[in-house]
């Protein structure tokens, strides 16, 4: 092999790494695939915008269409009829007062939070601060499994079993009522409130605990006066996220609340929530009618409420992380 050959070989070698056409084509293919990944990543943004647009589009005629507002009546969705607040969209004179529905949603959500928050936060304290490491590794997934039970199954359980228990213990006027629905909802939100609270407690730096103990506080004092307050924003976020989940839950309340749109504060009366109303009425409604648009308006309201609530919850978690992380 002459020197010349070696030089040409080497020359070819350099050329090969510089720009053979197959490699350029491969680069192009990669570029295309990377572009595709980026475009597909935009699906989530597109979905949120599309939900906002299409739910909003069908909801808007409630405010803008003359025909719809004539049927809804002069006072809009809160007006009431002869001093009474009635939701009765299918009748000779349709009554679209959503106040009983808002009250129903509020009632069951509050009941759910009253049951779920103390239980879940206390369980989070046990799992994060007290349980052995082994026990914790079992307990956390076990509690989170509760979130894997479909809501229609929880609803069925509330309908068949829980309502009987509540009836026996309490003797309510209606067998299916706000209390039963609220307790059923608590089943659904416990895992969320627990999980977010537990994460918040574990994010509190260990130095907080050792410092408190070194200053002579008991373990209970350490937990109640140091760790819990430090995790406060995270626990608040857990409650907020639980609220968002409870207010949007559908199948449990459809099955367990009794679905009578009564406007009263009683927990032992049947009640009807926003979600249950949409679920039960949209299937039978004429597309484009005032009733149809009002149901979409309720959906839009729900979407906005959960959007704000979830956004606030996420912000709280981030802020707490940033604060605790900075002081570590």
């Amino acid at each position: 092999m002459s020197v010349q050959d070696v030089v040409t070989e080497a020359g070819r070698g350099t050329k090969a790494t510089a720009a053979p056409s197959w490699m350029a084509r491969a680069r192009l293919g990669e570029r295309a695939l990377e572009m595709l990944i980026k475009i597909v990543a935009l699906v989530s943004i597109a979905s949120v915008l599309l939900i906002l647009f299409f739910v909003g589009k069908e909801a808007l005629p409630v405010l803008t269409s003359a025909e719809a507002s004539r049927e809804i009546g002069a006072g809009g969705l809160f007006a009431g009829h002869d001093g009474q607040h009635i939701w009765q969209p299918v009748s000779e004179i349709p009554k679209y007062d959503i106040l009983p529905l808002l009250a129903g949603s509020a009632k069951v959500t509050i009941v759910a939070l009253v049951f779920a928050v103390p239980l879940s936060v206390a369980a989070a304290v046990y799992v994060s601060e007290i349980a052995h490491k082994r026990a914790r590794e079992l307990l956390k997934p076990a509690i989170e499994l509760l979130a894997g039970v479909p809501s229609v199954v929880v609803g069925f359980f509330a309908l068949v079993v829980l309502s009987t228990w509540v009836q026996k213990a309490y003797g309510a006027e209606h067998r299916l009522n706000a209390l039963v629905a609220g307790i059923g909802l608590a089943f659904a939100i416990c895992p969320i409130v627990f999980s977010v609270s537990e994460d918040a407690l574990r994010a509190v730096p260990h130095s907080y605990r050792t410092a408190a103990i070194a200053l002579g506080s008991t373990r209970a004092q350490t937990i109640l006066r140091v760790v819990l307050p430090a995790a406060g924003p995270g626990i608040a976020a857990a409650i907020v996220l639980g609220f968002g989940r409870a207010i949007g839950e559908t199948m449990i309340v459809v099955l367990a609340s009794g679905n009578a749109a009564l406007l009263d504060p009683s927990l032992e009366h049947s009640t009807r929530t926003i979600t249950a109303t949409i679920a039960q009425e949209l299937g039978e409604v004429v597309v484009g009618s005032a009733h149809y648009h009002v149901l979409f308006a309720l959906g839009a309201l729900l979407f906005l409420a959960t959007f704000i609530v979830n956004f606030a919850g996420e912000r709280m978690v981030h802020r707490m992380r940033a604060r605790l992380g900075g002081s570590r």
Binding site: R27, L42, S44, V55, G148, V152, V153, L282, L302, V309
Partner: protein
């Protein structure tokens, strides 16, 4: 080091004899709360299993409902649920994995786009399922389906009506966050050294992702997909208006057919049954099948995740 002392401190806590009354009260109260939540899970599982197990038979899972849904089986509902979740997975998993790859491998931490995607994912996870149902009706059926009908079928309602494909796509958006979160976590857990080694050997970034990172993250992708399937199979609210049917004499064979589903069947039997006492056993049986499907999938996912996490910890 700190974590070791932390867990030690926690471990000693329960046995500490000198602990104060307040300490012991706190332990008891929080333990009771924990047990109560576990009892919620146990009582639901137990009731459904006890009520439903004697209904299960080959006929129950292989035959169609008869006598106005007061007898027979639930095969069409099982078939519908499986078809629905399969279609949903085909749409949700690739989109979710691509999103996770973008977030974990391509986007800069401070990227505005990445932050927007994260906000939207978190938001999608929080949107009430009934709103997805409204969206499916307003977007997929009334807009996309209707446009297809006008373009290809002369305005004849062919795709502009509730059907399998629209329900599956609606569910795929609902379950997208589950896939993204699990996959991104798994991708981020792949050690940096593996990427560096691959890049140092001359692999391109995309080759590294496809041949090194993704195979390593397979456990997480699998977890996310299984959780998504479990979630999708159990959801009822989003399919109420997008394709679920009360009763069908035939199985869905086309993408634009309506379908029966287990969750919807439970809802129908529980609320619209002509004879409550005669349907109750069937209802329990259906709930048991649905719960077995979703719950077992969940259990598998949790087990895979626990194993992946343990392996990760031991390799670090």
């Amino acid at each position: 080091m700190t974590t070791a002392t932390a867990s030690q401190a926690r471990a000693n806590w329960a046995e500490d004899r000198r602990s104060h009354f307040g300490d012991r009260a706190l332990v008891v109260l929080t333990l009771v709360a924990t047990l109560l939540i576990l009892a919620m899970l146990a009582v639901v599982l137990l009731d459904v299993v006890v009520g439903g197990v004697h209904v299960l038979s080959w006929e129950f899972v292989s035959a169609a409902p008869t006598k106005g849904m007061t007898a027979g089986g639930i095969f069409p509902a099982i078939f519908g649920t499986v078809a629905l979740t399969l279609l949903m997975t085909v749409a949700a998993v690739p989109a979710g994995v691509a999103t996770a790859i973008y977030l974990a491998e391509y986007a800069a931490p401070s990227s505005v786009l990445a932050r927007a995607i994260r906000v939207c994912i978190a938001n999608l996870a929080g949107v009430p399922s009934i709103v997805f149902g409204l969206f499916g009706l307003g977007f997929f059926i009334s807009t996309v389906g209707h446009a297809i009908d006008v373009a290809a079928f002369g305005g004849q309602p062919t795709y502009g009506k509730p059907s399998l494909i629209w329900a599956a796509l609606t569910l795929s958006i609902l379950t997208l966050p589950v896939v993204v979160v699990a996959t991104e976590e798994a991708i981020r857990a792949v050690p940096r050294e593996l990427r560096d080694a691959s890049l140092a050997l001359g692999a391109t970034k995309l080759q590294t992702i496809l041949r090194v990172v993704l195979p390593e993250a397979l456990g997480g992708i699998l977890t996310g997909s299984i959780l998504a399937v479990s979630r999708g199979a159990g959801e009822v609210a989003p399919i109420l208006f997008t394709g679920a049917a009360y009763f069908l004499p035939y199985l869905p064979t086309h993408l634009n057919d309506p379908f029966m589903s287990l969750g919807y069947h439970v809802y129908v039997l529980a609320t619209q049954s002509p004879d409550v006492d005669r349907t109750k056993p069937l209802l329990y049986g259906t709930v048991l099948v649905l719960l077995a499907l979703t719950f077992l999938l969940n259990l598998v996912a949790v087990a895979i995740r626990a194993r992946t996490r343990r392996r990760l910890k031991s390799s670090m």
